[in-house]
Point group: C2
Chain length 198, copies 2
């Protein structure tokens, strides 16, 4: 997605060997027009898949997931994160390990909102090691629902998440695919949109 890559080039800040800071438009300050465009692209790609729910995790996934759900005309659900809190039996839950923060969180979704009839699209802001997507897939499986695909705003292709999702035969759309960081610069993968939907 051209405008996204340009935004990353002009505003993204590379920290160390594997962190990209995009807090000016994606995960602290938000550019609502860019989110709308992102939602339109995801919706167009996944429309043939008869999605019934869009799923993400608080907080940075909410903006792109909301715009996608608006375009697909279905509800969006964001999983809540709980630190070592006992959840009641009304929730599906899964563990998500964050390599960046080195913490283990429980994520949870109310059993009221996801069930065997659902065809679920996962949306998230970043794909690194794939732990968040893995946790959501775990919850989708507990609910007896079907995971239809994964839409990612920015993936770091050099980390494990990309191959983890492909190994599950899940369609993956990443709007910006980063091959590597080089001298503090972002080098994108050659294909503009890394589509594995077909």
């Amino acid at each position: 997605m051209k405008i996204l890559e340009e935004k990353i080039k002009s505003e993204g800040i590379v920290l160390g060997s594997d962190i990209l800071k995009v807090d000016s438009f994606l995960n602290h300050q938000i550019d609502p027009f860019l989110m709308l465009q992102i939602g339109k692209v995801f919706a167009e790609k996944f429309k043939p898949n008869s999605i019934s729910k869009v799923l993400t995790i608080e907080s940075s996934g909410i903006a792109p997931a909301l715009m996608t759900s608006l375009q697909l005309q279905v509800p969006m659900i964001f999983a809540r994160k709980h630190e070592s809190r006992t959840l009641s039996g009304n929730f599906f839950s899964a563990s998500v390990y964050s390599y960046t923060k080195q913490t283990e969180n429980q994520i949870a979704i109310s059993k009221k909102f996801i069930g065997p009839k659902d065809r679920v699209l996962i949306i998230d802001d970043f794909l690194a090691n794939g732990q968040a997507v893995q946790g959501l897939l775990d919850i989708i499986s507990q609910a007896g629902a079907v995971a239809v695909g994964v839409g990612i705003v920015i993936e770091k292709r050099f980390q494990a998440g990309h191959n983890l999702i492909l190994s599950k035969k899940l369609p993956l759309i990443s709007l910006a695919s980063i091959d590597r960081f080089e001298n503090g610069q972002v080098i994108f993968c050659k294909k503009e949109v890394a589509s594995h939907a077909n």
Copy 2:
């Protein structure tokens, strides 16, 4: 806002004397069309105020704030919550006490994204005791910016937040104003939209 009140009546669950659960459309599962309508109403009400930024707190404020910012054509910023973590000097921060959870959180906004030229609209999903709004006002003041108004999706008029905001001479728009809970039912204030903007 009629459709919001109807949604609260049909899907909201009253717990005890002061909790309203609306997790089917506002703060866990999200109805994107309702959020779009909410954004349109806030934008229309506050458009004359030359807003430059929309401000909220993660996570439940993000959806209504994003839709408002889309309509106003300005960026949205969500404050991040930190539990007793030391913040660097690059952030404005404030303390927010949650009566529901009985916890004190730090909220923080990067100094890069708010400054003396900004005219800020605060958006949040709920107004109860007003602690979250108070924290955001604190940050706006630290930044030397101007708070232009407050837009709330659901206010519990019987708690302290409503009068707290009015005491600061700030315009307050609440799309659903709850007068009280009675036998597990929601009783709204008589005026459909509690507008104090003029």
